[in-house]
Symmetry: C2
Subunit: 214 residues, 2 copies
Amino acid sequence: MVKDQATEDLIKEKAKVLFFQKGFLDATTQEIADEAKVNRALIHYYFRSREQLLDSILEEVVNRKRARAKAIFTSALSFREKIAVYISAIVDQGLMYPYLENFIISETARDPERANMLCSPTRTRTTELIRDDLAAEIKAGKLAPMTVEHFMINLSSMCNYPFLAKSILKSVHGMTDQSYRKFLQDRKQIIYRAIFNEEMPEVQLTPELKSILS
Amino acid sequence: MVKDQATEDLIKEKAKVLFFQKGFLDATTQEIADEAKVNRALIHYYFRSREQLLDSILEEVVNRKRARAKAIFTSALSFREKIAVYISAIVDQGLMYPYLENFIISETARDPERANMLCSPTRTRTTELIRDDLAAEIKAGKLAPMTVEHFMINLSSMCNYPFLAKSILKSVHGMTDQSYRKFLQDRKQIIYRAIFNEEMPEVQLTPELKSILS
DNA sequence: GGGCACGTTAACAATTTTGTTAAACAAAAA
DNA sequence: TTTTTGTTTAACAAAATTGTTAACGTGCCC
């Protein structure tokens, strides 16, 4: 024997390519196996069922998102710099994995239990990491009063929705792939301005942040 | 003979209940037939295939959205009032049909051709209806400069995303159904303020608008 | 080398799902 | 009453999909 973990990782990796990059959200076990060039039975051997493979992928990707958010929001940056980096990270991630959000949305909609599983109370809540910073901004009169929940959702709405609605946007505004990507790049500034009403600062990333965001 | 159009409408109607309200986005033809209490073959008799039933539903719902938007944006209201009404209409629609956006997003992602079909160049583009108003606001210095595309997407992102991410939101912030609905009501003001940086006005709807939005 | 442990494969079984069809049926027209 | 037209039904066929299993292969330890 020589493969072991390697095969399991390969299957997961190729499944993610199908789901997140090729957008084939209802890929069958056969299609996943083909993509990984392995026998379909191996998927069951390693993951028991298609469902559990999806669970495993969903959990991994959500944890990864959480880890990135945590790294950003516990960094030494100023509040507004953190938000700038966060926006940029989400948009960049969307450009790299265009259907990742579709996957998360559609899987949690299909079975809301999954959302609970992923957000157990013991996990770090991103909202808690910015609650005080946000309150300070508001108290200083630099931001219209709102709860941290509304703030976070304004933020993630504007970052994520354009990826979810990709085909509609492209149709409605007659965009090519090229101009769609340009549009998303522009959005980084647009989103920041929509939130803070000022220009987005250039942020110098620490090596640590750089590596976790790559 | 007595049914005809009635049966066809019934099937479509019940399918929409399944998709938009119960959130069963991958309902089978059998499940649709059960919901409508008709024989499954009738679905094929009237709609030929499951796919064409979905097409028909998707087209209807997108046209309906477009018609509402057009009614709002061609009304006699001021620009900011129009936006206030638009926000309110979208959120209310989401409360009524919680999975309608999920349906649109997942169907257009599954087959981007559909998005083209729905947004043919001959259709009225909502963006065109507000382009001039928006330019005037910006010129008057009442709004940060941005293209009408970014403006519209900021708007629809903040309105629609909270419905798409419903289960995640509820998990992350520990919301009940009750508090989730309250949260969405609050968002109307929050979204308006995020865009215009001022309180949302009370708008008196004309009877015509009232009827098309009901 | 022989046996062990694990990975891999092909074949099979079971289920689900879509789409078709021929017959039954019901109302209106002739 | 018979015919005609369009609707509804049950039964069937075909395809797709998931999960299981028994056999096979391959390296490794003794």
